[in-house]
């Protein structure tokens, strides 16, 4: 499903974290944590999987597509098979929760009738039934992240990427978000999550890949934070 082969990424003109010769393979339906200290290069991996960045060396396969050599005009269609959530939620402040989710459908050309059908479904799935018409500032952090997850999941992607999704949330709320991600994982969606929240990793007991200084230092099934 996801494969990184000898992937190296340096940033020429910035000191953003680089990665060196990473080899990772993730199967369909897995739930994988990338952990490691700040600046280890975890988020760089998410950027490579999204094809926001292209590695200097090596190859990246996502959904059985080799993305490093992918033509620019093919990237949008490729991204539709992925969902992605971030620490800072990235919602549009002047749109309601439901409109934020519908926006993801609108801008890829789905007709309004589709949005009317699937948006309430996915709002229910993330546990926000009844709060569809609230604006982001009227929602708690956990609820905002649920909106973001709904938006990422509304196209039923095969892979959900999560870059520190609980980074801005308190422990209880974090656990609720993890339950939601776990439920999405059980529908067959592959989940790749970058975190340095040790509690969560220890509770979930899923595969853990630890990155340090740009290298994979541990890759363990049912691992703990260590």
């Amino acid at each position: 499903m996801i494969r990184l082969e000898h992937v190296t990424k340096h940033y020429a003109r910035s000191n953003r974290p680089s990665i060196e010769d990473i080899n990772v393979s993730i199967e369909k339906g897995e739930f994988v944590f990338f952990i490691g200290p700040t600046g280890a290069g975890k988020s760089t991996i998410i950027k490579l999987l999204l094809r926001e960045e292209v590695p200097n060396k090596g190859k990246v396969w996502v959904n059985d597509k080799e993305v490093t050599g992918m033509r620019r005009w093919k990237v949008p269609a490729f991204r539709r098979s992925l969902g992605c959530v971030f620490q800072d939620f990235r919602l549009l402040p002047h749109r309601t929760a439901a409109e934020n989710v519908a926006f993801a459908l609108e801008v890829i050309g789905k007709p309004k009738t589709v949005a009317r059908r699937v948006v309430p479904e996915v709002m229910d799935l993330v546990g926000l039934g009844g709060k569809e018409h609230r604006y982001p500032h009227e929602l708690s952090g956990g609820e905002q992240q649920r909106v973001a997850i709904a938006r990422a999941f509304v196209n039923r992607p095969l892979i959900l990427l999560a870059d520190e999704p609980t980074g801005n949330l308190d422990p209880d709320t974090s656990i609720e978000i993890m339950r939601l991600l776990d439920r999405i994982n059980r529908t067959g969606t592959t989940i790749v999550m970058v975190t340095h929240d040790s509690n969560i990793v220890n509770q979930m007991r899923r595969r853990v890949i630890e990155i340090e200084g740009g290298h994979v230092v541990r890759d363990q099934a049912r691992g703990v934070y260590g």
Binding site: P76, A77, G109
Partner: protein
């Protein structure tokens, strides 16, 4: 639905940055006016050249003391008619020259008064088969009859001076169009950067969820095209005003000696300017997005 979304984004984008939008439209309009004026001048020179090419003649002025009855006049006439370079020859007597002179300066009776009727020369108006032979022709007849020919004038030389002047004006207006055009395009690039910055959230989400590149870029590019079209319409109106108030107004006398600048030609400027403005704005917008803002 998507068209509606894109159009409302365009309107919002232009309005949000209204001072920049106005600056962009004004520079664009000035540049396009200059371009339009330059093009009209070019067409004018072309049509005038075509018109006069068939009409230019060489005028052989005789010494003013020579009259129709003089022998040398007959010799010259014979020689001209027999010359293979010559197409037609027409003699103009001193009296005819005087009548023409009076007509030409009818507005200045003092001038007419002060000129001695006898000083006006008789002349041959000669048209050649090929005007390129003019220099050879002049060299051949300059000294004819030992001073009987006073002067030979090639009308084309005089016309070429006029064309040269018009060409100069045309080049000047095109240079101004280019300079203003560069300023306009830099403003377009800047406007688009500002627009893209103010919409960076939307843009980043659109890209994240896989909106197609054209869908992300279209509102910005259309903003530039819209400004370009408004600029083209303003430039067209400026040309219409120029035709109405300058060509047919203040400088009517000057333009009357030229071939007519038709309204059809002015109207033709609208699609030409609109086309050039929208294509160039769209390209500038797209390049800005693609390589500077990296949308």
């Amino acid at each position: 639905m998507r068209a509606k979304y894109v159009l409302s984004e365009v309107a919002v984008g232009l309005w949000r940055n209204i001072s920049m939008t106005i600056a962009m439209i004004i520079t664009m309009a000035v540049s396009l006016t200059m371009l339009g004026a330059g093009l009209l001048m070019y067409f004018q020179v072309q049509s005038m050249e075509a018109y006069y090419r068939g009409q230019v003649e060489i005028i052989v002025y005789l010494n003013h003391e020579i009259t129709e009855e003089d022998e040398v006049k007959g010799q010259l006439e014979e020689s001209l008619i027999g010359d293979p370079m010559v197409k037609t020859v027409e003699f103009k007597t001193k009296e005819e020259a005087w009548t023409d002179f009076q007509e030409l300066f009818a507005d200045a009776p003092d001038l007419v008064e002060s000129v001695d009727k006898d000083r006006l020369p008789a002349s041959f108006e000669v048209s050649l088969n090929n005007m390129d032979d003019a220099d050879e022709f002049i060299a051949k007849y300059e000294g004819f009859g030992d001073g009987a020919v006073e002067r030979i004038m090639n009308q084309r030389d005089a016309l070429e001076e006029v064309f040269g002047l018009m060409g100069g004006v045309q080049r000047l207006s095109l240079i101004l169009a280019l300079v203003q055009g560069i300023a306009a395009l830099l403003l377009v690039a800047n406007t688009i950067q500002v627009a893209a910055y103010s919409k960076r959230r939307e843009v980043s989400i659109m890209k994240l969820v896989g909106a197609s590149n054209w869908f992300v870029q279209a509102p910005f590019v259309l903003e530039a095209v819209f400004a370009g079209l408004i600029g083209a319409i303003l430039a067209f109106l400026a040309l219409v005003a120029g035709k109405a108030f300058l060509v047919d107004g203040t400088f009517k006398a000057l333009f009357d000696i030229m071939t007519e600048m038709s309204w059809t030609r002015i109207w033709l400027m609208l699609p030409i300017l609109a086309g050039i403005a929208s294509v160039i704005s769209a390209i500038t917008g797209w390049v800005t997005l693609r390589f500077q803002v990296k949308v």
